[in-house]
Symmetry: C2
C-alpha cells in the first residue's frame, strides 16, 4: 500500500507541476550546454594545454589537477569566462617554465582563440523546439553567465536570437541575479520557468526564488556545476529540450 500511495502522491505532484507550468509567462533559458555546446570546448582547450605541457616534459595528470583546483578557486573571484580561464592556464605555465618561448606564447594564444571563436553547435531539438514555442507566442529570454561580449557573440552567431525577447549576461548566476531579472521584466516568480543544465547556477537559485525549474540532464556538465538539488521534488528533469513542449501545453 505504501508503494501505491507514493505513486499517487507523485502523480499528483506531476499534475500540479504541469498545471503550474501552463501559467508560465516568461521562459528563461540558460545558454551554454542548454542551447549550444560549450563545456566540450573548454575540455578541448584543457586537452591542448596538457599536450603542450607534455611536450615540455610535464606530467599531464599533475597539471590537470592544478588546472582543476585553480579553476575552482578562481570562479569565486572572477566569475565564469574564457579569458579568466586562459589566465589560469597562463599562470600555471609561467610557474613551470621560466623563459617563455614564442612557441609557447603562440600556442596559448591559439588555445585562447579556439575557445573564444569555437563553432556554434546547437544541441539536438533546440531549433525545432524554439520554433514551436515562438509560433505559440511564448515569451523567451536567454539568461547566461560569462563575459558579456563573448556570450553576445555566440548568441548572434547561433541563428536562434530572433526567437528570444532579450539576452541577459551576468558574471555569476545566483538568487540575487535571478530576483533582479524577474524585477526588470516585471514577472512574478511563479509565472516564470528557468530551463538549464546546471544544478548550481540554473536550478537551485530559481527554486529558492519560487521560480519553476526544468533541469536538462546532459552527459557533459562542468564539475563545479554539479551539486545536489535544494528541493528535488520541485524540479522537472528532461533529457531533450523538446520535452518542454508538452509542459508548456504545446503538442
Amino acid at each position: 500500500m505504501h508503494h501505491s500511495s507514493c505513486t499517487v502522491i507523485f502523480a499528483f505532484m506531476q499534475y500540479e507541476t504541469t498545471e503550474k507550468l501552463k501559467n508560465t509567462e516568461l521562459w528563461i533559458f540558460d545558454a551554454d550546454d542548454t542551447l549550444w555546446e560549450s563545456a566540450l570546448y573548454f575540455r578541448r582547450a584543457e586537452e591542448d594545454f596538457l599536450g603542450l605541457m607534455l611536450s615540455l616534459g610535464f606530467d599531464p595528470e599533475t597539471i590537470r589537477n592544478e588546472v582543476h583546483s585553480r579553476d575552482i578557486e578562481r570562479l569565486s573571484v572572477t566569475g565564469y569566462g574564457v579569458r579568466p580561464y586562459i589566465n589560469t592556464l597562463k599562470s600555471i605555465l609561467a610557474e613551470h617554465v621560466t623563459a617563455l618561448s614564442s612557441y609557447l606564447n603562440d600556442s596559448i594564444d591559439y588555445i585562447s582563440n579556439s575557445l573564444l571563436h569555437h563553432p556554434l553547435v546547437l544541441l539536438p531539438e533546440v531549433i525545432s523546439t524554439l520554433e514551436k514555442m515562438n509560433i505559440c507566442g511564448k515569451k523567451m529570454l536567454v539568461y547566461t553567465m560569462g563575459e558579456d561580449d563573448h556570450q553576445r557573440d555566440k548568441f548572434n552567431r547561433s541563428g536562434i536570437a530572433g526567437f528570444f525577447s532579450d539576452i541577459v549576461v551576468v558574471p555569476v548566476k545566483n538568487e540575487n541575479t535571478m530576483k533582479e531579472l524577474l524585477a526588470s521584466f516585471g514577472t512574478l516568480p511563479e509565472r516564470a520557468c528557468m530551463i538549464g543544465n546546471s544544478p548550481r547556477s540554473d536550478i537551485n537559485p530559481a527554486i529558492e526564488c519560487g521560480v519553476n525549474a526544468i533541469y536538462l540532464k546532459r552527459s557533459i556538465t562542468w564539475q563545479a556545476e554539479q551539486t545536489e538539488f535544494a528541493e528535488p521534488e520541485l524540479v522537472t528533469t528532461v533529457t531533450s529540450l523538446s520535452e518542454i513542449l508538452p509542459l508548456a501545453g504545446i503538442e
Copy 2:
C-alpha cells in the same frame, strides 16, 4: 631450436639496421602526427560537423559514414589538406539542406577556421630529441603533405623550424615524390632515413626507394593511412621520437 634460430636472425637484422642507420646523412621527418598533433583536430572538426547535422535532425552515424567514404574518394583527386576536407563537409551539408541559413554558413566557417588555426602542440620528446640531433650536427628535413601555406604556417609556429635545413610540402607523398626529394638533396637512398607515423605515405614509399624507415606508432592515425607494410622486416618501429637517438648513434 626453431625459436632460438629466429631470435638469432632477428638479432642479426636488428644489428644490420642499426649499422645502416649510423651512416644516415639525411634525416627526413614527417610532420603531422609525427612532430605535432594533427589528426586530433580533424576528428574535432568531424565531431562539430556531426553535431551541426544533429541540430538539424540528421543521424550522426549516417553522416559520419558519408564523410568517411567521400573523404577517401576525394583524397585521390585533391590530395590532403584542410580546404578540400572542408569542401567535402560543405557538399554533404548542401545535399541535405536546400536553403543554407547564415547560422550554418557561419558554423562551417568556424569549423574551417578552427582546423586551419588549431594550436600547435608538439608531441612528447620532440623538442628534446631534435635538440640533441641538432647538437650532434645531424642534417634534418621536414617532408609533409597537404597545402603549402597551411603546412608552412604550422612549421613556423612550431618553434622547432630552426633545427631543420628545409621543409618540403607535396600534395600526396609517394615513391616519385620521395625520389625527387632525394635527387634535389643529392642523397643516396641508403644514406637517408624517413621517420613517420603513416604506413601508406611515410614508410612504404621510403622502403620501395631503398630508404631506411622508422615507423612512429601512435594511437591516432588516419584510417586512410593505415595499411600493411610492404616489407615489414625492413621497418624499425618506435613509440616515441626519443627512441631514434640510439639508432642515430646518440646517447
